[in-house]
C-alpha cells in the first residue's frame, strides 16, 4: 500500500486518508475520482510558490491513444489552474525516434518542464539529457524511462496492478483453466512489468496455466489478428488478461459478436470505462480495472510545475502540493525506478459503477 512505502505511521496515514476522502466527498468536483485517496500525509496546503506562466511540454507515446489524450487534458487542467500552459506534442508511431523532435521542440521553445511517456526505456536518455542541460525539468508518466534525474508518476503500484488482474480473473474462472495475456508492444515498459507480477501471482493458482502472451502493439487491427490466432491455437482458453486499453476493447468487441465463446472464456484487464461500458452491460466483460488517467495527467502537470518552480524536489520524503489531489510524498528509488510518487491503488469497474465515469 501507499502508506507503507511513505514510511509514515500506517495508522496516522490511514486517518489522514480518511480525512482526505471525507474532504473529497464533500467537495463537489472530485467525488468520483477513484484515485482521490492517492495522496498521503501533510496538510492540504494551498498552491504556494508555483511560478506563473510556466510552459510544460506533454509528450505522450503518440497523439492518438485515447487514454493519453485524456491524461494530457488532465495536465492542461493542472497548468491552467496554475496560470501556465501545456503544449502536447508527439508522433503518430509509438517509437522513440518519433518523440525526439518533440523533446527538441521543447528545448528550442525554452520550456520549463517535459512530461513524457517514453516509448523506449533508454533510447530517449541522450535527448532528455540535452533537455536537462537546457534547464528543463523532466517528469515521466504512464511508461517510465531509465534516465537519471526525473520524477516518475506511477499510475498505480506496479505489483498491485499485476496481482489484482490475476485475482480478478481467478475469481471469474474459479481459479481453473488455460489463460493468456494480450499485451501492447512487446517492448512496452509498463505492460512487461505488470506481466512479470502476473506470473508471480499465478504461482498462487496452481490450476491456472498461462499458455501464451501475445502482442497487439496497441493497434486494433494487430490486436484482433493476434487474438484470433490465440483463440484458434487454444480453443479451450478460459481467460484473457489484456493490460492495455486498446487490447481489451478490441477483444471485448470481438467477443461481443462471438458470444458462444463466452461460455468458457472470460476477459479482464485494463480498460477505459467509456469504451467498456457497453460490453459490461451486455455481459461480455464482468469487471476490469484502471486508474483515472485524467488525474494521472493532472498530477504529472502539478509535479512538473512544482519541480520547475523549485517547490518540489526529487529527494526521498519531500512533499509537494497537487491541487485537488492534495499532497504527495516522493518515494525512495527502488530497483530500476528512480524517485516516484504513486497516484493511488487501481480501481475496479463493473456494472454497478461504470456509468459514473466519463473518460
Amino acid at each position: 500500500m501507499v502508506h507503507l512505502r511513505t514510511g509514515r505511521g500506517a495508522g496516522a496515514a490511514a486517518g489522514l486518508t480518511a480525512v482526505l476522502l471525507l474532504a473529497a466527498a464533500c467537495s463537489s468536483s472530485s467525488t468520483s475520482t477513484p484515485a482521490a485517496s492517492g495522496g498521503s500525509g501533510g496538510t492540504s496546503a494551498s498552491p504556494t510558490g508555483v511560478k506563473k506562466g510556466l510552459v510544460v511540454y506533454f509528450i505522450p507515446k503518440d497523439t492518438q491513444n485515447p487514454y493519453e489524450v485524456i491524461a494530457d487534458k488532465g495536465g492542461t487542467d493542472a497548468l491552467t489552474e496554475l496560470g501556465g500552459k501545456v503544449v502536447v506534442s508527439s508522433g503518430t508511431a509509438d517509437t522513440a525516434a518519433a518523440q525526439i523532435p518533440s523533446i527538441q521542440a521543447a528545448i528550442q521553445a525554452h520550456a520549463d518542464a517535459i512530461v513524457i511517456a517514453a516509448n523506449d526505456p533508454a533510447a530517449l536518455c541522450p535527448s532528455l539529457a540535452q533537455a536537462e542541460a537546457a534547464g528543463i525539468k523532466v517528469v515521466a508518466f504512464d511508461s517510465d524511462n531509465t534516465c537519471p534525474n526525473h520524477l516518475f508518476i506511477n499510475q498505480a503500484n506496479t505489483e498491485q496492478i499485476g496481482t489484482s488482474e490475476v485475482d480478478l480473473l481467478a475469481k471469474e474462472i474459479n481459479s481453473t483453466g488455460q489463460i493468456a495475456i494480450l499485451s501492447a508492444a512487446a517492448t512496452a515498459t509498463n505492460q512487461n512489468a505488470w506481466i512479470g507480477y502476473m506470473k508471480q501471482q499465478l504461482a498462487k493458482y496452481p490450476n491456472m496455466k498461462l499458455v501464451s502472451t501475445v502482442y497487439g502493439n496497441d493497434d486494433p487491427a494487430t490486436s484482433l489478428t493476434v487474438l484470433q490466432g490465440l483463440l484458434s491455437a487454444y480453443p479451450n482458453l478460459a481467460g484473457i488478461i489484456s493490460p492495455t486499453t486498446v487490447g481489451i476493447s478490441t477483444a471485448a468487441q470481438y467477443l461481443d459478436t462471438h458470444k458462444d465463446l463466452l461460455k468458457h472464456l472470460h476477459l479482464t484487464g485494463l480498460g477505459l470505462p467509456s469504451q467498456m461500458k457497453a460490453y459490461v452491460h451486455s455481459g461480455t466483460v464482468k469487471e476490469f480495472e484502471l486508474w483515472n488517467p485524467s488525474d494521472l495527467g493532472y498530477l504529472a502537470g502539478y509535479a512538473a510545475a512544482d519541480l520547475a518552480s523549485g517547490t518540489a524536489k526529487l529527494d526521498t520524503g519531500s512533499t509537494f502540493d497537487a491541487g485537488k489531489l492534495k499532497t504527495y510524498t516522493v518515494l525512495a528509488p527502488a530497483g530500476t525506478t528512480g524517485p516516484s510518487v504513486i497516484l493511488g491503488p487501481p480501481f475496479v469497474f463493473n456494472a454497478s459503477n461504470v456509468d459514473q465515469f466519463n473518460f
Binding site: 497523439t63 508522433g91 517509437t95 527538441q104 528550442q108 533508454a122 533510447a123 530517449l124 536518455c125 535527448s127
Partner: protein, 342 residues
C-alpha cells in the same frame, strides 16, 4: 522509347537524349532551392526559435542516418531499381551490434562484423535481382520483412545499452567548432563522393545509361548486372553503417530501430528529382530534399502541428515530387509525338 531511337546507334543518340534531361534536372533543382528558401522563411516567420544554430544541429541529427541511406538508394533508383529494405537493414545492424557487444565483443570489432553482414544482406538483394531476374520491389519488400524478422529473433524484446559514452556522444554533441551533427557531417562528405562518382565518372554515366535503356547499355558494353549487384551491396553496407550511427545516437540497440524509415528515405530520393523510372536524378537534388524535409519537420514540430497533419504534408510532398516531373516529361513526349505525326 520510340522505335527510331531504339535502332539509332548509341553514339549519335546520346547527345540528343542527354541534353534535355540535363536541362530538366537543372530546372527541378532550381525549384528545390526555392523550396528550401521558402521553408526557411516560413519557419522563421512562424516560430521565433527556428532561426538559430540549435535548429541546424537538430535537423542534422534527425536527418543524418536517413540522408546517408538516401545516397546509395539514389544510384539504385537511377538504374531503375529500388531498395525498400534499407530501414530493416538499419534495424538488423543495430540489433547485431547490440548482440555482439553484449556478448563481449569489442565495439570496433562488432562494427566491422555489422558492416560485413550489411554488405552480405545487400548481396542477397543483388543476387535475387540480377541473377534470378526478380523485380527489385518484390525482392526488397521480402528482405524488408526478412531482415526485421532476423533482428527480432536475435534480440527479441531486449534492448542493449551501455555503449561507451565517448561514442554515444555523437547523438548529443555536434562536431567541435560547428553546429553539425556527426552523422550529417559524414553525409555531406559522402554526398560529395557520390556526386563526383555519379556525375563525373564513367561509372556514373553507366548508371544513367542503365536507367535510360538497360538493354542498350548492355549491348554497348556496360556490365549492367555487375553494376546493379554492386549497388545493392553498397546499399546494404551503407545502411549497416547508418544502423551503427543510429545505435550510438540512441545509445540503445533494439530490433525495431528505424521501423518505417524506408518511406522517408524514398520520399527524399523522389523529392530530390530522381525519376522512379530510372535514368534521371542528381545528388545535389537529394541533398536539397534532405534539407527541405528536415527543416519542414522541425518547423512543423515547433509550431506543434499534429503529427497526423505532418504525415499528410510529407505524403503530399512525395506525390507532388512524383507527379510534377512526370507530367512535364509526359507533356514533352506527347508534344514530340504530335510534332512527328504532323
Amino acid at each position: 522509347m520510340s522505335s527510331d531511337q531504339m535502332t539509332a546507334p548509341v553514339a549519335t543518340r546520346a547527345p540528343v537524349q542527354v541534353q534535355p534531361v540535363w536541362r530538366s534536372v537543372v530546372r527541378w533543382e532550381t525549384a528545390l532551392v526555392f523550396l528550401v528558401i521558402a521553408t526557411i522563411i516560413f519557419g522563421a516567420q512562424e516560430n521565433e526559435h527556428f532561426l538559430n544554430t540549435t535548429t541546424l544541429f537538430f535537423v542534422g541529427l534527425n536527418m543524418g542516418e536517413i540522408a546517408i541511406m538516401a545516397l546509395p538508394l539514389t544510384l539504385i533508383v537511377v538504374t531503375g531499381e529500388i531498395d525498400l529494405s534499407v530501414a530493416s537493414m538499419l534495424g538488423l545492424s543495430s540489433t547485431l551490434l547490440g548482440y555482439l557487444y553484449q556478448h563481449g565483443w569489442s565495439i570496433w570489432l562488432a562494427m566491422v562484423a555489422v558492416l560485413v553482414v550489411g554488405a552480405a544482406g545487400g548481396a542477397l538483394n543483388g543476387f535475387l535481382v540480377t541473377r534470378l531476374g526478380l523485380p527489385s520491389i518484390a525482392v526488397t519488400i521480402g528482405t524488408l520483412t526478412l531482415f526485421r524478422g532476423v533482428a527480432e529473433i536475435i534480440l527479441g524484446t531486449d534492448s542493449v545499452g551501455g555503449y561507451p559514452q565517448s561514442l554515444t556522444n555523437v547523438g548529443v554533441i555536434p562536431i567541435p567548432g560547428t553546429q553539425l551533427a556527426y552523422s550529417f557531417g559524414i553525409f555531406l562528405v559522402l554526398a560529395m563522393v557520390y556526386g563526383v562518382v555519379l556525375h563525373a565518372t564513367p561509372v556514373g554515366r553507366s548508371v544513367f545509361a542503365i536507367g535510360l535503356q538497360s538493354e542498350a547499355a548492355y549491348f554497348s558494353g556496360i556490365r549492367v548486372n555487375r553494376i546493379k549487384f554492386l549497388l545493392f551491396v553498397l546499399s546494404g553496407l551503407v545502411c549497416a553503417f547508418a544502423g551503427i550511427l543510429w545505435t550510438l545516437r540512441f545509445a540503445t540497440s533494439r530490433y525495431d530501430a528505424g521501423t518505417g524509415l524506408e518511406l522517408t528515405v524514398v520520399t527524399i530520393v523522389l523529392l530530390g528529382g530522381v525519376s522512379i523510372f530510372g535514368g534521371r536524378g542528381s545528388i545535389l537534388g537529394v541533398v536539397l530534399a534532405v534539407v527541405i524535409v528536415g527543416c519542414l519537420q522541425e518547423v512543423l514540430t515547433l509550431m506543434t502541428v499534429d503529427a497526423q497533419v505532418q504525415n499528410i504534408i510529407t505524403g503530399g510532398l512525395l506525390l507532388v515530387s512524383v507527379i510534377l516531373p512526370n507530367t512535364a516529361e509526359g507533356l514533352r513526349r506527347f508534344r514530340a509525338r504530335v510534332r512527328r505525326r504532323a
